[in-house]
């Protein structure tokens, strides 16, 4: 203690103290911030991010900018905080990169490999904050109970059917946009879409709809579409298709029969 007391007027004391406190702050920060990866992973991550940055520059930057800052005149949003889940969703479903600057990115065939999607997602995730690609345990609907499926139906009708129709057949939105069909869509993509809100879709965050509820809704959607229909389902579009069939098949065939009856004479 005497050493400290005597040395406190030493001329190196102030710089040393400054250094020490900086070190302490740094050490505490390193301790408090959760470690995201071990150093070996860190190296791999860095390589992935670099690969993703290259892919981004060739495939995405023309609209979203070299640093994913977005270009207003292209209608391309800033991607710094969209997260890996958004990239995974948009690229995996072929929505991005867009072939044409349309009002809405349509689903099309994805031409990227798993590794390329992972690299792109890692790069965009490294730019900021956003939902990560989910674990299978987060979206897999296989463990949902029968009651859970029915509850999922109720949740689906409350949150989804207004745009996507009662069995996920899709529906129209203003200005040429559509709520796409959800039939045959992967559980993972539905999870990602709910968490990231692509296009017109609002974000359904885990605070309002936890992962278990997403699983229930996905389970309902899968089961309701696997349920056999009571005859031709007419696309699951509701009464418009039914009216069309009543007129064309019903009245149409009955008029043909009426014509046939009228051509028969009394002795025919």
């Amino acid at each position: 203690m005497r050493f400290l007391a005597s040395g406190r007027r030493h001329k190196a004391a102030r710089p040393l103290l400054l250094l020490l406190s900086l070190f302490l702050v740094g050490a505490v920060y390193a301790l408090v911030t959760p470690a995201t990866s071990s150093s070996a992973e860190g190296v791999a991550d860095a390589q992935l991010i670099a690969a993703g940055k290259n892919l981004f520059a060739t495939n995405c930057a023309s609209c979203h900018g070299l640093n994913a800052e977005g270009l207003a005149q292209q209608g391309a949003p800033n991607l710094t905080n969209v997260g890996a889940a958004a990239v995974d969703f948009q690229v995996r479903t072929g929505r991005m990169p867009m072939a044409n600057p349309l009002v809405q990115a349509p689903r099309k065939e994805n031409t990227f490999t798993e590794d390329e999607i992972a690299a792109l997602a890692a790069y965009v995730a490294s730019l900021g904050d956003g939902p990560a690609i989910p674990d299978e345990s987060q979206y897999d609907p296989s463990s949902v109970s029968a009651e859970g499926v029915a509850r999922g139906g109720d949740l689906f009708r409350t949150n989804c059917s207004a745009c996507h129709n009662f069995k996920g057949a899709g529906g129209a939105l203003p200005d040429g946009r559509v709520a796409p069909s959800l039939q045959g869509v992967d559980a993972k993509e539905i999870w990602e879409a709910m968490r990231t809100g692509p296009g017109q879709m609002p974000v359904f965050a885990s605070g309002s709809i936890p992962d278990e509820d997403v699983q229930k809704m996905v389970a309902y959607l899968e089961q309701v579409n696997a349920t056999p229909s009571a005859g031709l389902s007419l696309g699951g579009l509701g009464p418009v298709a039914e009216g069309f069939w009543a007129w064309v098949a019903g009245i149409g065939s009955l008029v043909l029969f009426a014509t046939w009856i009228a051509t028969r004479g009394p002795r025919a």
Binding site: A146, E147, V149, A150, R151, G153, D154, R157, T158, S161, A162, C163, N165, F166, K167, A169, G170, G171, A172, L173, P174, D175, G176, V178, A179, Q223, V224, T227, S229, A230, G231, L232, S233, L234, G238, P239, V240, A241, E242, G243, F244, W245, A246, W247, A249, G250, I251, S253, L254, V255, F257, A258, T259, I261, A262, T263, R264, G265, P266, R267
Partner: protein, 565 residues
């Protein structure tokens, strides 16, 4: 082109035959006398040989009648299990995807009919398809009556009964659509709730009266049930009886042909010909409806889920017959007036209440308006061919076009998604189309009618095309025409010429005169006897010329003049 058509085929059924004198007394004679002594059977049986004319379009009303019978039969089956109650229960039936979901008893019993009652789903689907066909058949039957002028004196009252049947048919269909208490029926009820509330001044009061308080309340399903199975079917039954009693009283109308006049009726007797034909047609209608119920899914309420005011689904539409109101509401601009703290919702009142009122008022008033315009007070038992009343036909098609545009607009979202166009573009297009398309339809229809009149005139004057092309010695080609039969010529020329009202003694207002001039305008005159005579000579001249020096192309032109002038 067709060879001369054969109209009015000889009918053995029309021959007068005398029964063999020595016929042995039938075994039925005893019981028949017994019944006749008590309820006057013989008098009732007098109508059994009533004559009806034969034409496919006369069977359209029968489709409606038979659908109604099917609705009564299947409806009775459904009432055995349906519970018209809005009390909340937790579902415990066999449909797994609804397990423990809270719902009304009405919806739970509908699910039970669909999944737990043997044949229940089939009967439900037959009932719903029959309802769609019922209204559709009434509509096509009405169009047939309209376009042939069958509503004219003395049948105006029967036309009014028909309009009444159609309008309460809509009410009946809507009430049935609402009973299962699924998401779509609830949304439809909410729609009607909005219509009721949009009525100026009394709207809110009327809503509370209908729903027994605020929407949705706990009463409306039970009330609609009463309307659906008692009140409206009773009215329908009564009006259908009156409709058919008047049909028998007036006798059926028939198409003009030799031997058919305004004072007779030509056709086959009800017994046995129409007993067989109409009876057979009933089974055909029933069969088609069963096939549709068995093969095509309709109103899958288990997919829609129970009604919950917080929920809605894309593609929420009414059944087809309310589609025009839905469409009008979808395309009207958002007009509202705010006055002294009150809101006047023209955006709902005009397309909803206003359009329905307009449609049925126009339908009901038309026969009287036309009679007023033409000043025609005579009885009509011969039908008009639609082309011979071009303005009426054009008006009818214009009305159909307006209805059709509103109807299409009701499916604007389905059109947008299925044809990959913008919902807004569809909506804006429809806003214009509901006004422009009827006008175009009117003009086009009138032109077609007048062209057909000209074609008729040419057929009378020049005969029908023989399908034989003749090459003359100098290389020209021509088609000779065969004269049409006397009977066909009669059928094509017998319709009276429309004439503008002339102020002949009685006072005729300016508007009425103008309207009647417009109504008679543009008609192609039917050929006179002299013209027909002249044309006959002319065609023999042509035949002579064809062999001579005149280029044959000219003669064929002469024969075809009709197409060019």
């Amino acid at each position: 082109m067709a060879k001369p058509a054969e109209l009015s085929p000889e009918s053995p059924a029309m021959e007068v035959r005398t029964p063999p004198k020595e016929a042995a007394p039938s075994k039925l004679a005893g019981p028949a006398t017994w019944v006749d002594d008590r309820i006057g059977l013989a008098k009732l049986m007098g109508n059994i040989r009533k004559v009806f004319p034969d034409h496919w379009s006369f069977l359209l009303g029968e489709i409606a009648l038979y659908s109604f019978v099917i609705l009564l039969l299947t409806g009775v089956f459904l009432t055995i299990w349906f519970k018209p109650s809005m009390a909340e229960v937790e579902y415990a039936g066999t449909y797994e995807l609804m397990r423990n979901v809270p719902m009304s008893e009405a919806f739970a019993s509908t699910l039970a009919i669909s999944f737990d009652v043997r044949g229940g789903l089939l009967v439900r689907q037959i009932h719903h398809w029959a309802a769609m066909l019922f209204v559709a058949a009434m509509t096509v039957h009405m169009l047939r009556v309209f376009f042939t002028g069958a509503y004219r004196k003395p049948r105006e009252l029967n036309w009014l009964i028909g309009v009444g049947l159609l309008s309460i048919g809509l009410v009946e269909g809507f009430a049935g659509y609402s009973l299962p208490d699924d998401l779509l029926s609830g949304t439809g009820l909410r729609f009607v709730d909005g219509l009721v509330r949009s009525i100026p001044l009394i709207g809110t009061w009327a809503e509370f009266f209908v729903f027994g308080g605020e929407f949705p309340g706990e009463l409306v399903i039970a009330r609609l049930y009463m309307v659906h199975i008692l009140l409206v079917p009773g009215l329908l039954l009564g009006l259908i009886s009156a409709h058919m009693a008047l049909l028998v009283y007036h006798k059926h109308t028939h198409w003009p042909a030799p031997g058919r006049t305004n004072h007779n009726i030509q056709g086959y007797p009800f017994f046995p010909i129409y007993v067989a034909k109409a009876g057979g047609f009933f089974f055909i209608v029933f069969g088609i409806t069963i096939l549709m119920g068995a093969l095509i899914q309709i109103n899958p309420v288990w997919l829609f889920g129970p009604y919950n005011p917080a929920q809605v689904t894309a593609g929420s539409q009414p059944d087809w017959y309310m589609g025009f109101v839905e469409g009008a509401i979808r395309i009207i601009p958002n007009w509202e007036t705010h006055l002294l703290g009150t809101t006047w919702s023209w955006n709902i009142f005009l397309p909803g209440v206003g359009l329905m009122g307009l449609l049925f008022t126009a339908l009901g008033a038309y026969p009287f308006i036309e009679a007023w315009i033409t000043g025609d007070k005579s009885e009509h038992h011969l039908l008009d061919r639609p082309r011979n009343a071009p303005n009426r036909t054009a008006l009818g098609v214009a009305g159909m076009a307006a209805y059709g545009m509103f109807w299409l607009a009701g499916g604007n979202d389905i059109i947008a998604t299925q044809f990959h166009v913008s919902l807004n573009a569809v909506t804006y297009f429809m806003r214009v189309a509901v006004f422009v398309v009827p006008v175009l339809a009117f003009i086009v229809t009138k032109r077609i009618c007048l062209s057909l009149q000209r074609a008729d005139r040419d057929r009378v004057l020049h005969g029908s095309e023989s399908n034989i092309i003749v090459r003359s010695p100098d290389g020209g080609y021509s088609e000779s025409h065969a004269p049409i039969s006397q009977g066909e010529a009669y059928s094509l020329t017998r319709h009276p010429q429309l004439e503008a009202l002339t102020p002949n003694g009685e006072k005729v207002g300016r508007t009425r005169q103008r309207l009647s001039r417009w109504f008679a305008d543009g008609q192609v005159p039917t050929p006179t006897a002299e013209e027909i005579e002249a044309a006959a000579h002319h065609s023999s001249d042509v035949a002579a010329i064809e062999g001579g020096d005149t280029p044959a192309i000219e003669s064929s032109e002469t024969a075809e003049t009709g197409a060019s002038h």
